[in-house]
């Protein structure tokens, strides 16, 4: 549905030019929920705005469906108003001088191929129903709460019945509890409507919860693309791994048997990196919730004696700082598991399939 080939966008605002988007290629299928994950300044919003036509890339091509909307090489640039996308802005951009109804109806009444009034009324009614704001048609926009404005922005984007829905950090201005609720609604809506979604966020939890496919972006480049779980479990490198969540990092060396010798001991690992030749340096990453703790040894592989250094109660989970052969390891367990007291001697186990090995 969205095809991007070799896209680059350079900003020249005094000083050195910034490659906001640096030769990016992506392919997003129909009805796919695609999440672009990156820190602020990674170029993710610029990429989204390029798809919308709000930025004009220096090189590369963008296709929406079977239509080329942007090709720097062929001199094609379809203006945003003719791309037929829907977009939800980070600031919502709900027009403050209009009512809820007018906000949603305005594009329908003012775009090419405008609809008859009766049909517009029906579309607006339907869109408001989808976002559960029925009955608020006549409310002036400034009299809406943040969450309601967010829903109006979504309804406006959906009312044009776009094939592609662009969302630029739509939840970042909502408070934490509302964020989760709206997040789940967005996911359900997109499945129900069968729309292709291009969603930009810096929140990895949000990305995991929403994405069919997630792409991690940094410094204008896409580092990894794939199903959310695959990217989480098998990050291609250390920076992607770190970005998706905290990670214990153990430096080591690959031995002749293909095990990695680290500070905590010799670890049997799953896939070794391509360059993982014997004698090569490697980094083993393991997420705190993939570290298993028990008082008695289980006798399985990758198990080591450890000492509990500290314990922090976080509500639904408990975080421990452990010392394994003098190496600090953090570990998270759910509360239902037995609690270990600081100073206790325990056993810690790193399951082979949870270990991520990167070349150093």
């Amino acid at each position: 549905m969205i095809e991007i080939r070799g896209l680059s966008k350079i900003f020249r605002t005094g000083g050195d030019p910034v490659h906001a988007v640096d030769n990016v290629s992506l392919s997003i299928g129909e009805r796919e929920f695609f999440v672009l994950l990156g820190l602020s300044g990674s170029g993710k919003t610029t990429l989204l705005r390029s798809i919308a036509g709000l930025e004009k890339p220096e090189s590369g091509e963008i296709r929406l469906g079977d239509r080329v909307v942007n090709s720097a090489e062929r001199g094609i640039f379809i203006p945003p108003s003719d791309r037929g996308v829907g977009m939800v802005f980070q600031s919502y951009a709900v027009w403050p001088h209009m009512t809820v109804f007018d906000n949603i109806a305005f594009p329908l009444l003012n775009r090419r191929g405008r609809l008859p009034r009766a049909q517009v009324r029906e579309r607006v009614r339907h869109a408001l129903e989808l976002v559960q704001l029925s009955g608020l048609e006549d409310r002036p926009a400034p009299m809406l709460s943040g969450g309601q404005q967010q829903r109006v922005a979504l309804a406006r984007a959906l009312a044009v019945e776009p094939q592609v829905l662009l969302m630029d950090e739509p939840l970042s201005n909502l408070d934490a509890r509302l964020r989760e609720e709206v997040r789940d609604e967005i996911k359900a809506l997109s499945q129900k409507l069968g729309v292709t979604v291009f969603y930009v966020t810096h929140d990895q939890v949000e990305a995991m919860a929403l994405a069919d496919t997630v792409a991690v972006m940094s410094h204008g480049k896409i580092l990894q693309t794939g199903p959310a779980q695959a990217v989480y479990d098998r990050p291609v490198d250390r920076s992607v791994g770190e970005f998706l969540g905290s990670m214990n990092e153990l430096e080591g060396r690959v031995d002749a048997d293909g095990r990695v010798v680290t500070g905590v001991g010799s670890l049997a690992c799953g896939l070794l990196p391509q360059e993982g030749d014997p004698g090569g340096e490697a980094l083993v990453g393991v997420r705190p919730n993939d570290v298993y703790v028990s008082v008695a040894a289980t006798g399985r592989e990758n198990e080591f004696p450890a000492r509990v250094e500290s314990r922090v109660f976080l509500g639904d989970i408990v975080a421990y700082q452990l010392s394994v052969n003098g190496t600090a390891i953090s570990c998270k367990t759910t509360v239902s598991e037995p609690a270990f007291d600081p100073g206790a001697n325990v056993h810690v186990r790193f399951p082979r399939d949870k270990l991520k090995v990167f070349a150093r």
């Binding site: 602020s40 108003s81 003719d82 919502y92 403050p96 630029d168």
Partner: protein
């Protein structure tokens, strides 16, 4: 408890950290005193206008309190005519200034117009030429009897009568509007910059074209700001003196300011202070009343500044071939605001009498006026007086406005917002009235203090009237200085005055420099108040030129005007460049 930890008992015996608390800080009292003195003077002067309106006869003579002046004023149909002319003049001014200012703001803020820095400089160039000189330039060009273009069309082309007449209400409004367009530009541009660009992008993304989006989204959103600009310029126009005086009086068209001027400086008979007081009181009421819709519109425009996203720059609208039209409009503006008035004034200054442009006229061009005007002692004195004002006034303004701003933003004094409002008062109230009140006051006390006709009266008038420029800039500057920076010094035992000198002043230096330069430029341009307070001893360049003009020496007035622009331009341009840079620093 390990050694080295402080216990509560230790704290009790430690030296007190807050020595100043509980003791009276005299320096703070001093700052408050300066601020209150300035504000009180403003209020007293306004009160004086009302007091004047209730008395008859000449100043310093006993008079019963009476409403006779109001009766005389309101029963004379001529005064209603003046009021009608003033309103019509103000409306034409707005009709010229606001649309052109808004178009320039849109071009510079929203499009990819090339050479934006140059365009912004061109728009601000008008500051180089005082308004009364521009008005004179237009008289030399389009007056039905002496205007060069009219003379050309009648004598050379052969038209039966002069086709153009600048000395009409529309003509005056046109010239006033041209001079105020940059003000409208700055205010609308600021509103466009405050607006969340995503609001326009949201229209584009969902299929709305540029023109519809401009008319249905962007314009309605900046409308409250535009409305506030309109009211603001309206108050400026009804109080304007330069243009009605220079252009209108050649054709006996009077607006409020020029009519008031003639009440105080009548061609025959005694000055009618009582009548002018009544007229002034009514105008004070009108201009204060206008502040109600002004602030309402301003509040409304700020309400539209909703949460904005991250600070991205929106992609400018591509003008394509329309850019030529954009630059065409800009150059046309510069032609009308700067080039034409200057050229026609230069033409007048080089001729023995006004002639149509022709070979014969070219042959009679000479620099004779320039050589004769230069040896004129009065011009030299006026120049020195102007320079004195350009340094004394801004310095006094900084002194008083910094004190007021400090009290308003820093102290917890009750009634501090009243001080702020009073400092703002001279903005809407016609400045001429402050000069009138000061002149009256000087006459009343003339037996005791012989101030009448002194240059210090000009310093007093300019300073009081423009304090508001200072406080508006310094208020926002001081608010940006975090309170804790000051409190840290306070805890360290510094006095209020020392804190202002050592902490606040260095931190807001760019704002101070900007205010100083800006008010210095105002002092250079000012004619209105100078004319009302003028005497042979306190002539400045503007009143010197005004004297030549009203005395019938049009060519000499043009010559002095050209000299004023040529000699002062490097200074003014240098000031302006520094001020703009300081403003950039202050905003970043």
């Amino acid at each position: 408890m390990t050694a080295g930890n402080t216990t509560l008992q230790d704290l009790d015996t430690a030296p007190r950290l807050l020595p100043r608390l509980g003791r009276v800080d005299w320096s703070q009292t001093l700052i408050v005193g300066v601020a209150v003195a300035a504000a009180a003077t403003i209020v007293i002067l306004l009160g004086l206008i009302v007091w004047m309106s209730l008395r008859t006869g000449v100043p310093a003579q006993p008079s019963p309190y009476t409403l006779e002046n109001y009766h005389t004023l309101l029963s004379d149909p001529y005064n209603y005519e003046v009021l009608g002319t003033t309103l019509a003049f103000a409306l034409v001014t707005i009709a010229v200034a606001v649309p052109s200012g808004a178009v320039f703001a849109w071009l510079l803020e929203r499009t990819d117009l090339p050479g934006k820095t140059a365009a912004a400089t061109l728009l601000s160039m008008g500051i180089l030429i005082p308004t009364f000189l521009k008005a004179m330039g237009w008289v030399f060009l389009l007056h039905p009897r002496i205007g060069a273009l009219n003379l050309f069309l009648v004598r050379v082309v052969g038209l039966e009568s002069s086709p153009f007449n600048i000395a009409t209400v529309v003509g005056m409004g046109f010239v006033q509007g041209i001079t105020l367009a940059p003000v409208a530009y700055v205010m609308v541009a600021a509103a466009l910059r405050r607006m969340n660009p995503a609001l326009v992008e949201a229209a584009a993304v969902h299929g709305v074209g540029i023109v519809r989006s401009l008319l249905r989204v962007e314009l309605p959103l900046v409308w409250p700001a535009i409305l506030s600009v309109m009211i603001w310029l309206f108050t400026i126009a009804i109080a304007a003196f330069d243009v009605p005086a220079v252009i209108g009086m050649t054709n006996n068209i009077f607006t409020f300011s020029t009519a008031l001027y003639f009440m105080v400086n009548p061609a025959e008979g005694l000055p009618q202070y009582g009548l002018s007081g009544a007229f002034g009181t009514i105008m004070i009421g009108l201009s204060l009343f206008l502040m109600i819709p002004y602030f309402a519109a301003l509040r409304h425009s700020h309400r539209y500044q909703i949460i904005s996203g991250k600070g991205y720059q929106t992609r400018p609208i591509e003008l394509g071939r329309w850019r030529l039209l954009g630059w065409g409009a800009l150059l046309l503006y510069v032609l009308l605001a700067v080039v034409l008035p200057l050229v026609s004034m230069l033409w007048a200054s080089l001729l023995p009498y006004m002639q149509a442009p022709s070979w014969r006229a070219l042959a009679s061009l000479s620099l004779e006026r320039y050589t004769s005007v230069f040896v004129d002692d009065a011009l030299i004195t006026s120049g020195l007086n102007t320079l004195f004002l350009m340094f004394a006034v801004p310095t006094a303004i900084l002194f008083f406005s910094a004190a007021i701003s400090w009290v308003v933003t820093r102290s917890r004094l009750r009634g501090r917002m009243v001080l702020d409002a009073i400092a703002f008062l001279p903005h809407p109230v016609p400045n001429l009235l402050f000069a009138l009140a000061i002149a009256y006051l000087a006459l009343v006390v003339s037996h005791v203090v012989p101030l009448y006709g002194s240059i210090h009266l000009l310093v007093l008038a300019y300073t009081l009237v423009w304090i508001g420029f200072g406080t508006r800039t310094l208020n926002s500057n001081m608010l940006q200085v975090h309170r804790e920076l000051e409190e840290a010094a306070q805890v360290g035992g510094a006095s209020a005055l020392r804190i202002v000198r050592k902490i606040i002043v260095p931190l807001i230096r760019p704002g101070l420099v900007y205010v100083w330069i800006w008010t210095s430029l105002l002092a250079y341009r000012e004619l209105t108040m100078a004319v009302l307070l003028s005497s042979p001893e306190n002539q400045v360049i503007s009143t010197f030129i005004w004297g030549e003009w009203t005395g019938g020496g049009l060519g000499d007035a043009a010559t002095a005007g050209i000299l004023m622009v040529v000699i002062m331009s490097p200074l003014v341009a240098g000031f302006w460049t520094v001020a703009r840079r300081q403003l950039d620093v202050a905003e970043s």
